[in-house]
């Protein structure tokens, strides 16, 4: 393990930024932190989490896929892909770091999504262990340890500085490049910090939330549960939960006529939208009930079904804080667990 003194944090950022683009949480002036590119003078925000999730780095809200030149009867397909530049994301929390694993299972399984893979290969993730989790946090429910996040490098804030640990080759390379700023250390300070965090985690209101009643193989049990009606009745059908969610990965492919060609781009889409599954001859998900059910069944049953029991939620709590009508996965899980095994 390596140690960085409190005073040298900015030097670390400068050293990284000299090699490659560095993004870190910065207060955006509305009381929320968002990932921002570091430049001299940028102040790192220690806010618990960013408003938007870190998935944007690998799965941006919109991206161009290709272009078409149309002339008479002819169509030319133009591959506009470019090799992504190396970058570092600093300060990713345990939940978001775990979300990359979920996105990987979608985008890096056969057939591999080349756009995603390109960015994933070039990104180095430095996680920051949590010190002040909030009431909306429930990553522990899904086996995520906020005190020991994954990522290429893990960082802990300790009393007199930061402790860093490389977890992967990419992480080793990053730490090696800034080695001049670091000193060797043991894991005592880290353990103390972890203990403190874990004590708080245990006191959080959602600490006892369990995945009992949901999970792999429960489609038949849960799909027709009557509770979906009351759970979904207030849903506005907006895409807030989907778009702030670090694991939601559905997309739409659209064309834009620029006047001198066609740009085909993909953008985030939401299963909460009424036109998500709409076809010329009808829509299999007629009402908000079906759409709402799809979102939660996907995270709590279908995704685990296809991924050895791994849930499609990381407990970051963004949807709890952001849903306009305060309906969220926790309420869904609790409601489903309550009336279970009928």
């Amino acid at each position: 393990m390596k140690k960085l003194s409190l005073a040298k944090l900015n030097d670390l950022f400068a050293a990284i930024a000299q090699r490659e683009a560095l993004y870190l949480p910065v207060d955006n002036g509305t009381g929320k932190a968002e990932y921002t590119k570091w430049q001299e003078g940028t102040v790192y925000s220690t806010a618990l989490n960013t408003g938007r999730s870190a998935k944007d780095f690998f799965f941006p809200q919109t991206e161009n896929l290709m272009e078409f030149k149309m002339e008479g009867k002819r169509i030319d397909v133009i591959d506009t892909r470019e090799e992504c530049e190396d970058f570092v994301i600093f300060g990713v929390r345990a939940c978001d770091a775990a979300s990359f694993d979920i996105l990987d299972r979608v985008y890096l399984t056969d057939p591999v999504d080349t756009y995603y893979k390109n960015r994933r290969q070039h990104g180095t993730v430095v996680t920051m262990a949590c010190g002040r989790p909030a009431e909306t946090c429930f990553c522990g429910t899904f086996g995520i340890d906020a005190a020991d996040p994954k990522g290429d490098v893990t960082c802990w804030t300790v009393e007199d500085g930061y402790v860093l640990r490389a977890n992967t080759e990419k992480g080793e390379a990053l730490l090696a490049a800034v080695d001049g700023l670091l000193t060797d250390t043991d894991d005592k300070a880290v353990q103390a910090a972890q203990e403190k965090t874990r004590a708080i985690l245990a006191k959080l209101p959602l600490a006892a939330l369990s995945t009992e009643g949901v999970g792999q193989g429960l489609t038949k049990e849960l799909f027709d549960r009557p509770e979906w009606a009351s759970l979904s009745e207030a849903c506005l059908g907006c895409g807030t939960c989907t778009f702030v969610c670090p694991t939601c990965q559905c997309y739409d492919i659209r064309d834009f006529d620029t006047g001198h060609g066609i740009q085909r781009f993909r953008c985030w889409d939401s299963c909460m939208y009424s036109d998500f599954t709409k076809m010329a001859h009808g829509n299999p998900r007629v009402s908000q009930l079906e759409r709402f059910r799809q979102r939660f069944m996907h995270k709590l049953v279908y995704f685990p079904d296809n991924n050895d029991g791994l849930f499609g939620c990381v407990g970051c709590g963004r949807c709890l804080a952001r849903c306009p009508i305060s309906m969220n996965i926790v309420k869904v899980m609790k409601t489903l667990a309550k009336g279970g095994n009928k």
Binding site: T30, K32, R52, P133, P205, F243, R254
Partner: protein, 315 residues
């Protein structure tokens, strides 16, 4: 207040005046209430909640709910009654199927404000003598109620219920000195460059989740122009600055003269974009150009964009 509301709802359910009650149901935390329909006394007793965090405007749900079998009881705060009236004027809700109980309101709290004070890990919020005692896993703190009041409530335009079948609590007055256009005026006083920079900063955060549109009681179209593939502007994402601007300008324009300034758009925005400032600009301009008009106040009055005079100012 909650006790009185619950009691009255139980009575109305019991005597068959209504068959359902539209209110708020308890959440995981002291502040995350979800709008809900209660059909039985047990459901009401189990889950009905009313407190300072019940900010959601319930009137839009009536579009769907008033078309169902039986009468529904709805609790409306003063600002919600304006939305209700406007929906009524637009024939979007069926008045005969709704029983309105107006509830007094002295401003709703915004948990974001508490969180911005560094109150993380909230486990309990207790109101007493104009103060909230906020308990968190990191200790407890007392906050003056007005310090946690939602931005929109600080500029409340009216504490008067413009429509109700009965009232719980006092009816208030229209607040004439609410100063709700202050920020609009500040923006107007800026240079175009400054204004442009301000709005770019705000609108560039938009993630196009459509929460503002879907929560808006004035956005009651069955299919929005931005969802209609034949409109040529249907779009899933705000791809660039133009589309961010266009969505919000057009949305504000489509509700101009119908927007009651309930402030739901800004409340629900996950990116904290002050969308009400767009609507208020239209309201302010319409007041200045065509005479004072408050949407929802009087359902029989012609909206400014639905009428004209020969001597209107030139564009």
């Amino acid at each position: 207040m909650q006790k009185m509301m619950e009691k009255r709802a139980l009575e109305l359910l019991a005597d068959g005046t209504v068959s359902r009650v539209l209110g708020w149901s308890a959440g995981e935390f002291p502040y995350d209430m979800t709008p809900a329909v209660f059909e039985t006394a047990e459901e009401l007793q189990d889950g009905f909640v009313y407190n300072d965090f019940c900010g959601a405007n319930l009137s839009k749900y009536l579009i769907k709910e008033s078309r169902k079998e039986g009468k529904i009881l709805v609790f409306l705060k003063p600002c919600d009654t304006y939305s209700f009236n406007q929906l009524l004027a637009e024939h979007r809700i069926i008045r005969d199927n709704i029983y309105v109980i107006g509830i007094e309101c002295y401003g709703k709290a915004d948990v974001e404000k508490l969180k911005a004070m560094g109150l993380e890990g909230i486990t309990g919020i207790y109101m007493k003598d104009g103060e909230y005692t906020v308990e968190t896993v990191y200790g407890s703190q007392t906050v003056k109620a007005y310090e946690a009041m939602a931005e929109r409530c600080l500029a409340c335009k009216s504490k008067k219920h413009v429509v109700y079948d009965e009232l719980i609590g006092e009816d208030g007055e229209v607040v004439t000195d609410c100063n709700r256009f202050d920020m609009v005026e500040q923006l107007e006083a800026m240079t175009p460059e400054q204004r442009f920079a301000f709005w770019r900063g705000e609108l560039s955060r938009c993630i196009r989740c459509n929460a503002c549109r879907n929560v808006c009681p004035a956005c009651s179209c069955e299919q929005c122009v931005f969802d209609n593939p034949n409109s040529g502007v249907a779009q899933k994402a705000a791809v660039n600055s133009f589309e961010e601007n266009m969505f919000h300008i057009i949305r504000a324009f489509h509700v101009a003269g119908r927007c009651t300034d309930c402030g739901e758009c800004s409340r629900v925005c996950p990116q904290n974009i002050p969308l009400h400032l767009l609507n208020r600009k239209f309201i302010k301009d319409m007041n200045a150009f065509y005479g004072e008009y408050q949407a929802g106040e009087d359902p029989d009055k012609k909206p400014p964009l639905g009428t004209y005079t020969l001597g209107d100012r030139e564009a």
